[in-house]
C-alpha cells in the first residue's frame, strides 16, 4: 500500500529535474544587477555601522577589517553593543558566541543551498557560500525558483553587496553624522521589506503555506519567550519539519 502510494507519487509528481549548476560571466553581472534594490539600504546600514564603530572607539582599520572579514550587518551591530575597550578574554568569547547566535539563520540558509550547489566541486560551493547574506540568499532563492542554475548569480550578488558593505563603512566612520536617522526613511526596515518582497515569487499553493504559517506563528511565540535571534531558527525548523510530514 505504502509502496503503491510511493510509486503513484513518483509518476504523478516527478521530482523537478534541475539543470546542473555552472558558472558564467554574464551570471556574475546578473547577480550584481539583482542586488540593485538592496544597494541604497545596504549603503545606509553600512554607514550607520561605521558611525557606531567610531563612537565605540574602534580604529578605522579595525572597523573596515570587521566588515571585510565578517560581512554580516546585524551581527556587526550587535557586536558593537557588546564591544568594550579594552577587550578581555571573556568579552572576546562572548563576542564570538553572540555572532554565532545572530548568524544562526545562515545555517538554515546554507542548508537550502544543498540541492543547487551540491553537484559543484566542494571548494567552489563553499567558496560561493562564504558570501552569503540575507539579501543574496533571497536573490538566490528567487532566481532558483525561476528555474535558474547559474551559480555565478549567487556569487555575483554576494561580491556586489560585499563591495558596497565594506566601502560604505568609510564615509560613516569619517563623517560620523552622515546617517543621523535611518529610521526616518524606513531604512531600518529595508531587510524585512526585501524578505517580504522575495516571499511572493516562492508561492506555490496552499500545501507549502501550511508549513510557512506554522513557521511564522512558532517564531512569533518564541520571540516573546526566548531573547535574541533564536526565533528565526526555531520557527523555520518547526515549520519545515511540519511541512515535510504533510503528504503531497
Amino acid at each position: 500500500m505504502l509502496v503503491l502510494r510511493h510509486i503513484q507519487t513518483m509518476t504523478t509528481h516527478p521530482p523537478p529535474r534541475d539543470e546542473a549548476p555552472y558558472w558564467s560571466l554574464p551570471g556574475l553581472a546578473e547577480g550584481a544587477r539583482r542586488c540593485g534594490a538592496m544597494v541604497p539600504g545596504t549603503f545606509v546600514f553600512a554607514a550607520a555601522y561605521g558611525t557606531l564603530a567610531a563612537q565605540k572607539g574602534l580604529s578605522l582599520s579595525e572597523t573596515v577589517l570587521m566588515s571585510a572579514l565578517m560581512f554580516a550587518g546585524s551581527a556587526q551591530l550587535v557586536a558593537l553593543e557588546v564591544w568594550t575597550n579594552p577587550l578581555t578574554l571573556a568579552t572576546v568569547v562572548s563576542l564570538a558566541v553572540v555572532t554565532g547566535i545572530v548568524n544562526a539563520r545562515f545555517i538554515l540558509m546554507s542548508a537550502t543551498m544543498r540541492p543547487w550547489f551540491g553537484p559543484l566541486p566542494a571548494w567552489q560551493a563553499y567558496g560561493a557560500l562564504t558570501t552569503t547574506v540575507d539579501a543574496t540568499w533571497l536573490i538566490g532563492m528567487r532566481y532558483r525558483s525561476e528555474g535558474g542554475s547559474d551559480a555565478s548569480v549567487y556569487l555575483g550578488a554576494g561580491l556586489a553587496l560585499y563591495a558596497v558593505w565594506v566601502f560604505a563603512a568609510l564615509p560613516g566612520y569619517l563623517l560620523g553624522a552622515l546617517v543621523t536617522d535611518p529610521k526616518r526613511f524606513g531604512f531600518d526596515l529595508v531587510l524585512i521589506i526585501f524578505f517580504a518582497a522575495m516571499f511572493v515569487p516562492l508561492w506555490r499553493g496552499v500545501r507549502r503555506a501550511i508549513g510557512w504559517a506554522v513557521a511564522g506563528l512558532v517564531a512569533l511565540a518564541v520571540s516573546y519567550v526566548v531573547p535574541g535571534w533564536w526565533f528565526i531558527v526555531i520557527g523555520a525548523l518547526t515549520g519545515s519539519i511540519v511541512g515535510a510530514f504533510i503528504d503531497e
Binding site: L95, G100, R105, V200, V218, A219, G235, G239, A244
Partner: protein, 103 residues
C-alpha cells in the same frame, strides 16, 4: 579572564569572522550527510519560505504598524508587478510617510 588582551580587537574580529564562516557553511555540509529522502526534500523545499515567514512576522510584531504597512505594500506590489526595485521603493516610501504622520 578579566585582564585586557593584547591585540584583543584583532583576535575578537578574527573569532567573530570564524564564527560567521561556520554558520555560512555548516548547514550545507550537514545536508550533504543526510540522505535525500522525499520527506527531507519536502522539508528542504519548504525551508526558504519558512525562514522568511519566521523573520517577517515577529519583526512586524516588535516594530509595530509601520513595519506592517511596509510589508503589506511590498507584498501587494510584488503580487501586482514582480519587480523588487518597485516593491522596495514603494515600501520605503510608505514607511517614511507613515512615520511622518506619527505612526
Amino acid at each position: 579572564m578579566n585582564d585586557a588582551m593584547p591585540h584583543g580587537a584583532l583576535i575578537a574580529i578574527v573569532a567573530m569572522a570564524l564564527a560567521t564562516l561556520l554558520t555560512r557553511v555548516s548547514g550545507f555540509w550537514l545536508m550533504g550527510h543526510i540522505p535525500m529522502t522525499p520527506r527531507v526534500r519536502r522539508g528542504l523545499e519548504i525551508l526558504p519560505g519558512a525562514i522568511m515567514a519566521s523573520a517577517i512576522i515577529p519583526i512586524i510584531a516588535k516594530v509595530g504598524v509601520v513595519a506592517l504597512i511596509a510589508v503589506v505594500v511590498a507584498l501587494l506590489s510584488m503580487i501586482v508587478k514582480r519587480n523588487e526595485f518597485i516593491a522596495v521603493g514603494l515600501a520605503l516610501a510608505a514607511a517614511s510617510l507613515a512615520r511622518a504622520y506619527g505612526l
